[in-house]
């Protein structure tokens, strides 16, 4: 296809992606280097009939508004936003590491810093939910594959629901069931015999609920993909394994799993990407006191009355770096394959 035709076809799509994906990334980087203006102060002389005169500092609202209007980005701040307490917190981190407390206290103190608190939850969510959801999905796929044909349709229908549901709505549904007056929350209190146990009061329960939600909503995707993969397992190989005396487990281990391995890589990649941006469940579960994520930090900076674009920008840049690190194995492999092909 000649260059001209190719670009004629792809141009609208390319413009959309450059304008609304590539440029915002640039805009985020620029924003992260600025902070909002400080208020302009003026010295006012305050004279009273008998008290004499005193000088005091006042906020000049007009001048502040004019300055903000003129330079909406704020003033240049360099990398200062990146290292402040709300982000990488280098000073605080240094102080904590230099102190002579034991390792547990140090860890607890580090995890109290907003960025690290969010980072650790995001990573735990990513690397706990993804493998568990894949394992559950694989188990469901194996089980459904063994069922008679008529039951498969309805089971697939119900299985798709947790995946297709709007994340915020799905987490709200579970949150209401888990609230102290909801069916699950009340049951949990009953089991542990602790009437004060609730999502709000217990960080462990909050984490557990969020991770459970993650597995619940991620498992169907693995299930559907693995189920489709199971239909393509070569019957001959399975049969010869059976003739050679392989048990059920050995057939799964040595025939089915190797056959599905490429699919598993794909599923893991997609789910890691999606889980890294975990955000809606934290809003839905009102979990911000006990668990936050990187995406939630950005949302928190942007919502509310005083929007902190600089702070949101810095967290965004750090998040994007995280995504690139997460994707780097794939990118490096693609690059190698490409070079190989070119040579």
């Amino acid at each position: 296809m000649p260059h001209k035709t190719f670009f004629a076809f792809i141009l609208p799509s390319l413009i959309a992606m450059v304008l609304f994906i590539a440029l915002p990334i640039v805009s985020v980087v620029v924003q992260s280097l600025y902070v909002s203006h400080e208020q302009v102060m003026v010295e006012v002389e305050n004279c009273q009939p008998f008290g004499g005169c005193s000088k005091e500092l006042r906020v000049d609202t007009e001048a502040t508004a004019a300055l903000r209007e003129e330079q909406p980005l704020g003033r240049f701040n360099g990398l200062a936003t990146y290292v402040n307490r709300a982000h990488l917190a280098t000073d605080e981190l240094g102080a904590i590491l230099a102190s002579d407390r034991d390792l547990g206290t140090k860890m607890a103190q580090i995890l109290n810093l907003p960025f690290y608190k969010a980072l650790i939850f995001t990573l735990v969510y990513c690397f706990v939910v993804t493998p568990l959801a894949m394992a559950l999905g694989f188990a469901i796929a194996l089980a459904v594959n063994a069922l008679p044909k008529v039951t498969k349709g309805p089971i697939i229908f119900f299985s798709l629901l947790p995946m297709i549901i709007t994340p915020l709505i799905g987490s709200l549904i579970l949150y209401w069931m888990l609230s102290p007056n909801g069916i699950l929350g009340a049951t949990i209190q009953h089991i542990f015999n602790d009437p004060t146990l609730s999502l709000r009061a217990s960080p462990a329960l909050t984490w557990g609920a969020l991770l459970t939600y993650g597995v619940w909503t991620n498992a169907p995707f693995s299930f559907v993909v693995f189920y489709a993969g199971l239909q393509t397992v070569p019957g001959d190989t399975l049969e010869s394994a059976m003739i050679d005396g392989a048990s059920r487990w050995e057939r799964i281990r040595y025939v089915i799993i190797p056959h599905l391995a490429p699919l598993a890589t794909f599923v893991a990649l997609v789910q890691l990407m999606d889980n890294f941006r975990v955000f809606e469940p934290i809003v839905g579960f009102s979990a911000e006191a006990n668990a936050t994520s990187l995406s939630w930090l950005i949302y928190n900076d942007l919502s509310g009355d005083s929007q902190q674009f600089g702070s949101a920008g810095a967290t965004s840049v750090l998040t994007i770096l995280g995504v690139v690190i997460l994707l780097s194995p794939v990118l490096i492999r693609t690059w190698r394959e490409f070079k190989h092909k070119a040579v």
């Binding site: 909406p72 063994a146 629901l161 599923v267 941006r277 942007l302 997460l326």
Partner: protein, 294 residues
Amino acid sequence: MSEAMSHKRPILLNTLIYVFIILWVILAAVPFLWTVWGSFKVEADFFSRESWWNAIFGTSTVRQTGEAFTGSGYYGAWITRDFWRAAFNTVIVTICVTAISLTLGTLGGYALARSGRNYSFWILIAALVFRAMPHITLVSGYLLPFFQLNIWGVLPTSIIVLVAINQPFTLWMLHSFFLSIPKDLDESAMVDGCTRFQAFRMVIMPVMWPGLVTTGLFSFLLGYNDFAVTAMLLSADNQTMVPKISSFLGSIQESGNVMFAVAAVVSATLPLFILVLVFQRQIVSGLTAGAVKG
């Protein structure tokens, strides 16, 4: 294969499989059924302090309204709190996002599938990286420019942003779909004197609908399920359903009208139920097509 083997399966294993599947179906379906059922009760039943049997029998609902089911949550959400407006906005946003995404994606995906040059490979890789960007990081890049250009808060802005965010996925899906249509088809049309665009319109368009339906479903879901973009880029009047529900929550919990939110949540779930019911086959094939080919 599975039928032949099931005869030889030991009873214990069979039981285990059935128990496991029943457990999973309960886990997947019961939260929805429970909430749908509970949305027709009053708050004292759905969030019952005494026993969750109240939610099933509707003890307080009978006491307060005289009947076992009440639509007061739905009335409160749709009429009192103007949820119909949010639903209407959602209809506009999802239809526009799906239509525009597919138009741009079809042209782009077709070009990528037929080009085979280096730059088309790199466009696909860039799309993969873009696909991985958390939406909220992009949103934090939009806000300031949109305030400056004075286009914040209106539906068209959100629609265009959602289309753009959706492009990487749409391009990948349609690219792999067009690869499955034989090249000879449009090339023979071009030998007969068609231009590339005529070949696309007269030969490819008639056979591309299955791929388009599948991709369209996922574009629809992206627009419908989005929270990050619509929550930050729409003003309170223009909100779609999902951000509307989230803004419900804060104000509602104080005034004791949680059931409004429950009713709104159930209302927003219903279209998704119908979607899965009608398009189950296409959703499954779409999920697996990406996996098997990508």
